[in-house]
């Protein structure tokens, strides 16, 4: 059951680089306890938005409130309650999975690192991988380890950038099932940036459509599909990406 209070509140969020506006005055709020999709093509501003939410990137303008806290001023109050995973970030290859998870457990100040790692290893089927070097794992195994790192602190908010990119269909399905289960069992909120329409349709209760740094439309997947008079979310995505139909036209 989604909570009424927004977990994330973003107002006028903008990121300018020298001559490029990567995110252009984005405003949105995300309710707690649901999975929200951030959908858009390459360069739409998804990763930039997530980076600003995480505090890795300072916005040029606008405000971010997470759990009611001003993220720009009180980042360190918020960071212990969230976590993230991204294909642009890796864990040290020479360290074993157990060593990597132990280091991050200590960074997050977990009182019982060992039992938590064992618990996650069981959840994410990492038992046999714990003492293998992270660099020797397959893409699917690395994704599961990255998820384990992201779950260490039992985040109330999980920010995932393309969590199933470059995974085979079987592993991707496994990851989606895990995320569904986590959100259902813990009532955590997940913001998921993805190109994968079927993933977003399956997981997300709410979708933010981004294009050229702006949120151009928003709604539940089925709501968007019917509003645009299409059969799938992918067709909606293509309508927006190729400007075959504007959100205003769809609304009429």
């Amino acid at each position: 059951m989604p909570a009424a209070t927004p977990v994330i509140e973003v107002e006028g969020l903008t990121k300018n680089y020298k001559t490029v506006t990567a995110v252009d005055g984005v405003s949105f709020a995300i309710r707690g306890g649901q999975i929200t999709g951030l959908l858009g093509g390459n360069g739409a501003g998804k990763t930039t938005t997530i980076s600003m939410l995480l505090g890795l990137l300072v916005p040029s303008a606008g405000s971010i409130r997470i759990f009611g806290e001003d993220m720009l001023r009180h980042r360190y109050r918020v960071l212990p309650r969230l976590n993230f995973s991204s294909p642009y970030v890796d864990l040290p290859h020479r360290l074993t999975v157990r060593e990597n998870l132990t280091v991050f457990a200590k960074l997050y100040g977990l009182p019982q690192a060992g039992p938590r790692i064992i618990e996650l290893a069981a959840d994410l089927e990492l038992g046999e991988l714990l003492d293998r070097k992270s660099g020797n794992l397959s893409s699917g195994q690395k994704t599961r380890v990255a998820l384990a790192k992201a779950m260490l602190n039992r985040p109330e908010l999980l920010l995932l950038d393309e969590p199933t990119a470059s995974l085979d269909p079987d592993t991707a399905d496994w990851v989606r099932s895990y995320l569904e289960r986590y959100a259902r069992e813990t009532h955590a909120s997940i913001l998921l940036a993805s190109h994968n329409m079927s993933e977003v349709e399956r997981l997300c209760a709410d979708v933010l459509m981004m294009k050229a740094g702006r949120i151009v439309d928003r709604g539940a997947p089925q709501e968007l599909v019917s509003r645009y008079g299409r059969g799938t979310l992918e067709e909606v995505f293509l309508d927006i990406a190729r400007e075959r139909r504007t959100p205003q036209e769809a609304a009429q």
Partner: protein
Amino acid sequence: MTAQAVSGFGFGDRLRRIGAILLRHAYLARSSWIRVFDLMYWPLLQMIIWGFINTFLATQSSWVLRAGGLFIGAVLLWDVLVRGQFGMTLSLLEEMWSRNFANLFVAPLRPVEYALALMSLSVVRSLVGVLPAAFIAIPLFAYSIFDLGLPLVAFYAILMMTGWAVGLLMCAMLIRFGLAAESFAWASIFLLAPICGVYYPVTTLPEWLQVIAWALPPTHVFEGMRALVIDGVFRGDLMVSAIAINLVYIAGSLAVFLFAFERARERGQLLQTGE
């Protein structure tokens, strides 16, 4: 649901996060003996070369003969400075090479805690690098740097502090310019070698360069070491001034490091720490 993680501002919380970074590098060293060997290799090689030069010169000059293993002592102390700086930059580079930077700073790790962790790592790396060379010099050249006694602790501390100051500047540059600045991060410390009188008295330098030399804390250490070895005098005044200069440099370098970190957050360089 309540988050398990703790983002305390207390001393213990800070120590725990610093400890996590140290643990990460301890695991790395344990998994890669070549990295540990690499720490010892250059100090050992330098000590052997200067040991033989010292042995040869002692047969040619009564001054060198009287000064005992002056050059061996100098090269070992010089390596404390070099390893001190490398210890910081190498630890940062390991995170950049492994694309782990964003993971660290999405965790509740403060930049200043990370800087303190890098400083602690530089102490460990300098000891691992220089101690084997110092011990091997005893049977090989009948020279023990430990004969310098308590002043050695002051020399070591001052050189480590300078290593931190330069290391913080180099880390700032790596955060700001990415791996494109890697070569400079390795080479920069050697700029000090001709100026701070490692192997010759500072009076050898032109007068205008001596002014610059005295602004460098290592100059005070090497002059202090020569005073101790040749004249048997411990120059406490040199040590006090070196510590004072170091404190100013460390404060300045830390400010530059924190500024570079904030600039990197503005430019999105924490997520993409490549070239």
